[in-house]
């Protein structure tokens, strides 16, 4: 492999000078610079990142911890982040917890040993252990999607989004509105969205019935299917006429069950999701949902990360806007 020493010899200068020419830092005569650059070009020389990183304590890598690598949300966020950081010469190192809490902690450690310059976490749950580990992280750290205490957080406006969606049902004349959620370990999705739903019902003098509320076991389509089934079973005799589901995938599962049972959507049951999955536009009927603009969230998070890396002050909490997409399912 070509090293900086090889280049130095070929150019008849010291490696110090080569380094300066390469990094545009310190004086190098135009003559020498050209000679060096020509050789670099010809040989296709690329500095060893390990050596640079060992020496400078900077790796040019941002670590990202994803709950699941193969979801649209993750993909969009990563894309947004990449768009911003790649322009500044940063690489991204992706890790996937597969929704395993222990892996979150493990990866935070691992990423640090890999000398990443910063860490972005897309958490799906919040617990004491996680918070403790984060406290000891020595590089810039940002949470995306969940608000963590004393951690720079970029969050979606889950509360108002869910209020708006619930209100949409009410405006359309529904007063029996069911809810399909997820567990409370996920504050953003499991708690905030549910709270907004309940608050909005109460504010409108509507009853919140336990039979109309169900939490899916996970975020899967199947889980939505199963939840809808449970709600219909529990509420026999007094079924809801609308169901607010906290994610598109689960909503699609719920629709699937309704279709199987011969329900017409939205006539017999109106339904909505959150997330603006591509699928939501192509399913029949098309799904009313909320677009969180994940890519923009990724961009913003990346920008905050760059700011932190440049020792700029950044606000501890950024809340993103959203867009309600009204389609045929409501």
């Amino acid at each position: 492999m070509t090293t900086i020493n090889d280049i130095a010899k070929m150019a008849n200068v010291s490696r110090t000078t080569v380094s300066r020419a390469l990094n545009n830092n310190g004086y190098v005569s135009e003559d020498v610079r050209k000679r060096i650059m020509k050789i670099v070009e010809d040989t296709g020389y690329m500095p060893s990142v390990s050596a640079q990183s060992l020496r400078t304590k900077r790796s040019g890598v941002i670590g990202i911890i994803l709950p699941k690598i193969s979801t649209e949300t993750s993909s969009r966020v990563v894309k947004g982040i990449n768009e911003v950081v790649s322009k500044e010469g940063f690489q991204i190192l992706l890790t996937d917890t597969e929704l395993d809490k222990r892996k979150e902690v493990e990866y935070i450690r691992l990423l640090q040993s890999r000398q990443v310059d910063g860490i972005i976490l897309l958490a799906t749950n919040v617990n004491e252990g996680l918070l403790n580990v984060i406290k000891d992280v020595k590089v810039p750290f940002i949470s995306l999607g969940q608000e963590l205490p004393n951690v720079t957080s970029v969050v979606y406006d889950d509360y108002h989004a869910a209020c708006d969606m619930t209100n949409l049902f009410i405006q359309r004349g529904h007063d029996k509105i069911a809810f399909i959620g997820v567990g409370e370990e996920d504050p953003a999705v499991g708690q905030t969205r549910k709270q907004a739903y309940m608050d909005t019902l109460k504010k409108n003098g509507l009853q919140v019935k336990d039979e109309w509320i169900h939490e899916g076991g996970d975020f899967s389509i199947e889980s939505g299917y199963e939840s809808m089934k449970q709600i219909l079973k529990k509420s026999e005799g007094n079924p809801p006429t609308a169901t607010f589901v906290v994610t598109d995938r689960m909503a699609i599962g719920a629709m699937e069950y309704l279709k199987e049972q011969g329900y017409r959507i939205p006539d017999d049951m109106a339904i909505s999701g959150i997330g603006a999955a591509v699928m939501s536009a192509y399913i029949t009927p098309s799904l009313t949902t909320i677009d969180y603009n994940n890519k923009e969230a990724g961009r913003l998070t990346a920008q905050l990360m760059l700011d932190k890396l440049n020792n700029k002050k950044v606000s501890e909490k950024s809340t993103l806007s959203y867009r309600l997409i009204s389609r045929d399912s409501v």
Copy 2:
């Protein structure tokens, strides 16, 4: 930061011994080993990967070059790869070309400068420049999804899959079968699948009409929509009764156009895709497609990579099997 020297001091041994204890290589008395491990535990020490990598020329990282990070195919493949390599302590470094040919070359270089131990490329196009750069790669290299000359390749059985799909239409009584493809720069998708379609038609004595063939500009839903529109326009008076689309997303776009125009699927037009996108199962009517089992492809590729890293011989070409999923659109 804690370094190996700190640990050595705390344990009253040399860093040589600490290194040996950590890597389980060479003799260390049980006594000393325990003492060291305890301290490592307590301090949460993790060796600097940069230093290790600089010293050993191994980084424990496999670089992956993706055409697009936010597609189901990519996600599944990555998942499969990750599953296998993470067990052996390897990390994955993901790069995204965003379908830009120059970036493929750029990333191959970049990954090498990052001292990755191996590179996996999911190519969408093959050209001389790319081949030349690959020739000079000094680490194990595998191509997934495209067969590259003199490069270890893991490929899908595009030819037979496309034959099977075309035959399915024929079995259902269609003799006017259209084709929506992509450009020829992508040999697997743009050439092989098309060739299989044409061969199958000919073998069955059916005519291959230019008006029934259209190439989309990219892999998008919109591109499928537009292609269907073009075919219907060009073939007015003698329209096809079935359309074989080379990807699910494009097929969904094509369906969208057909629905808008009042076509009943499959009665007025049968349609099929390839890829087994999640969406394909939930769209109405559900889409007949081919499951390439991308995750398994990822796993196999990863295994081959590990074999290469262990200097085992691996076969230059592996062809994966597939599964035709017959649903309601045909």
